[in-house]
């Protein structure tokens, strides 16, 4: 019999480690070249690793959720050949020994110190899905005893009551993956700062009712988002320095700030297990009624996954409004390559000082996150102050 090691291959330039998701074959199964053997999760995605030889899977050295490095041996396949397929992998090495194998493929057996535990403690731990290795034993030589497991179960139950069955690791949907990638990029590369202000929406709500009543039958009802879009567009045009995107590595001579022509604003829409950011182009050209119509159309097509590519890119700014059931205020993360995002808290009645007295007024809290590479605090606060001014004013373009 000839044993050939299955190793973690290098997939992509940056891959260094992989986490085993699951085996697609069991010990004893026959495998053929090219047949998927197991799934591993890398930094980028979940991928299948295929058998490089045909034979019988005789030993599995790695279990789900374990991490392995590129080149680690994770299984042995018996090819049944008389001649070794690869001289270096003719016999499995005793775990941990470095024999004739090239160092890159030596299997580093994950042999930690043996955890001492009593049989009944192990049994109880297994019944409750508790890892005895994570329990500090109170017995002789730190042996994990029944009492220790009971304590651990109690602590766990207290922490996560009611007990929820652990969900198996799940692969990412394309939307989740895109979102994860964008948010990671944003957090890693964009230095973001925030400025906050509350806006009094008494006037805005009054006008919304008034305008909606004036609209033709069958027109979509105006939403606060339509007002936000128009107000943001106007502010962006007044502050062209913020209506821009940062491009390139700051270290590179090619780094530049690219100014936009026109106001192109994204509106964050929550969907099942993710979100969409349809882009409203040239917002300054439209009245509230047209913005409402476009909003309804974009959201409707967005939920069906029918947005065109240009309807998903080209903005410098986004609005995230978590609505009436949202938080009082929150911070949103900039959607690259945009340079700012406005987080709109829920409308609520608050006591505000007004003309020297206390009044109860409907307010929303606005949190503006800005790319510090593009703009500074003074500009951002001036922008926000102007935005609030517009939102509290009665100067709106309806048609």
């Amino acid at each position: 019999m000839t044993l050939v090691a299955v190793e973690i291959p290098k997939i992509g330039l940056v891959m260094e480690t992989a986490r085993l998701v699951r085996w697609l074959k069991n010990v004893g199964d026959t495998v053929t070249v090219g047949e998927p053997l197991l799934e591993v999760e890398t930094e980028k995605s979940i991928i299948e690793i295929e058998a490089t030889v045909s034979g019988r899977l005789v030993e599995i050295l790695m279990q789900p959720d374990q991490e392995a490095k590129v080149g680690d041996q994770i299984a042995w396949i018996d090819t049944g050949d008389a001649q070794p397929a690869r001289p270096s992998a003719a016999e499995p090495p005793a775990s941990g020994t470095k024999g004739a194998l090239p160092s890159a493929v030596v299997f580093e057996a994950p042999v930690g110190e043996r955890i001492r535990s009593t049989p009944v403690a192990r049994r109880l731990a297994a019944e409750h899905g508790v890892d005895v290795a994570r329990i500090t034993g109170s017995g002789p030589r730190e042996r994990v005893q029944l009492e220790d497991v009971r304590r651990a179960i109690g602590a766990q139950a207290a922490k996560e009551a009611p007990t929820v069955a652990a969900r198996a690791p799940q692969g990412l949907s394309p939307m989740r993956r895109a979102l994860a990638r964008a948010m990671t990029l944003s957090n890693a590369t964009i230095p973001q700062f925030t400025v906050e202000r509350s806006v009094d929406v008494t006037m805005l709500q009054a006008l919304r009712a008034e305008f909606s009543a004036a609209l033709a039958q069958g027109s979509p009802t105006l939403s606060v988002n339509d007002f936000l879009l128009q107000a943001v567009a106007r502010t962006l045009l007044e502050f062209p320095s913020l209506n821009a995107t940062f491009s390139g590595d700051p270290e590179s001579p090619d780094a530049r700030i690219v100014n936009a022509s026109g106001a192109h604003v994204g509106l964050v829409v929550a969907v099942e297990n993710g979100l969409l950011v349809p882009i409203f182009h040239d917002v300054e050209q439209f009245g509230l009624a047209e913005l409402a119509r476009r909003r309804v159309d974009l959201v409707e097509r967005g939920l069906k996954g029918r947005l065109k590519r240009e309807e998903l890119e080209g903005a410098t700014f986004s609005i995230s409004n978590l609505g009436a059931h949202g938080p009082d205020r929150f911070t949103a993360i900039i959607n690259p390559p945009q340079s700012a995002i406005l987080a709109v808290g829920r409308q609520r009645d608050a006591v505000v000082a007004r003309y020297g007295t206390m009044e109860v007024r409907p307010i929303c809290e606005l949190t503006l996150a800005v790319d510090h590479r593009v703009a500074d605090g003074r500009l951002a606060s001036a922008f926000l102050a102007r935005l609030v001014e517009i939102l509290e004013d009665r100067d709106w373009r309806l048609k």
């Binding site: 009593t118 049989p119 009944v120 403690a121 017995g139 002789p140 030589r141 005893q145 029944l146 009492e147």
Partner: protein, 325 residues
């Protein structure tokens, strides 16, 4: 009315002699009461035919008793000191224990061998041993070791009525113990242990006189908030693993105590069976308390120093329950 172990044994023999004409007593000096006076007066009551003195030859009288049993009598043979049972070993092991098996069940040996074991009052190395482990190694022999007068009363009667050879081991230190018999208590079955004290933290398994060491230890431990369950095995063969399992499943910690030396002792067998059959229940290694591997000394001070007792059990239990000690 409270009676001593000796008086209660006499009463049990008296009642069995009266109940069943095939019951006979044999042994050295039994007609005059035996070495400890257990059979005193029975010869006068039942006659020399049924209560017979024998020569001082354990090999011969064990053969005689085995033959009598094969022929339909129910002899109760007294071997004065278990230390002398060595002389009767050939008969007990090769004849008495084998007849039922080798005759394909056609023959039976309804023989009870009463014998005294254990150290008491400086009887020295040849009259103080606890050799029960030798007998539990022989298929065909039942081994009974009662822990009190009342227990001995019921177990002796059950042994006489069993129909198979029984080694009935009486501990000399228990002979003066007094106890009252419950009125018309049912006879305990052979092979069924009893819970001498209920508890939940640790199981103490003992038999014969050591049951009292275990009970004393349990009382001592209770004052420290440790709840010990004490199992009185009563019979060593057959071993009541069901009772042991029920207790260990509850406490997860076990200590076996006996006066015999630990090496190759009854505790070793029980510990092995617990390790095999109840492995998943254990929360600590099974511990044993027993005599150090040495002959029993003659000097009373040394005898006291050597014999295991409740203090040794308490110490061992604290080790069993202790944290990282």
């Amino acid at each position: 009315m409270e009676q001593t172990f000796i008086d209660i044994l006499r009463r049990a023999l008296d009642e069995e002699l009266a109940r069943d004409a095939s019951v006979h007593l044999l042994g050295e000096d039994v007609a005059t009461g035996g070495a400890f006076g257990v059979t005193r007066g029975l010869a006068q009551k039942f006659g020399a035919q049924r209560v017979r003195n024998t020569p001082i030859s354990e090999a011969a009288i064990t053969g005689l008793a085995t033959g009598a049993a094969l022929c339909g009598l129910k002899p109760v043979l007294e071997i004065m000191f278990i230390d002398f049972a060595t002389l009767a070993m050939d008969c007990l092991v090769n004849q008495t224990a084998k007849y039922r098996y080798m005759s394909g069940g056609q023959l039976a040996v309804p023989l009870v061998v009463r014998t005294q074991a254990g150290a008491a009052g400086g009887a020295a190395a040849q009259h103080s041993q606890s050799l029960e482990a030798w007998f539990i190694h022989v298929p065909g022999l039942v081994v009974v070791a009662p822990s009190s007068p009342a227990e001995a009363y019921g177990l002796l009667k059950s042994a006489i009525r069993l129909g198979d050879p029984v080694l009935f081991i009486e501990h000399k230190r228990l002979y003066a113990m007094k106890e009252a018999l419950a009125d018309s208590a049912a006879l305990p079955p052979i092979g069924k242990a009893r819970i001498a004290r209920a508890g939940k933290d640790v199981t103490l398994i003992a038999y014969s006189a050591m049951v009292h060491g275990a009970l004393d230890a349990a009382e001592n431990l209770a004052r420290a908030g440790i709840s010990a369950e004490v199992i009185d095995l009563r019979t060593l063969v057959p071993l009541d693993m069901a009772t042991i399992a029920a207790s260990v499943t509850k406490t997860h910690r076990v200590l076996i105590a006996h006066e015999a030396v630990r090496n190759g002792g009854v505790g070793a067998e029980i510990a092995a069976r617990i390790g095999t059959e109840l492995f998943d229940e254990l929360d600590a290694p099974v511990l044993r308390v027993g005599c150090p591997f040495a002959p029993i000394p003659f000097a009373p001070e040394l005898e006291r120093a050597l014999l295991p007792g409740s203090a040794d059990i308490v110490r061992a239990v604290r080790q069993l329950l202790g944290s990282a000690a």
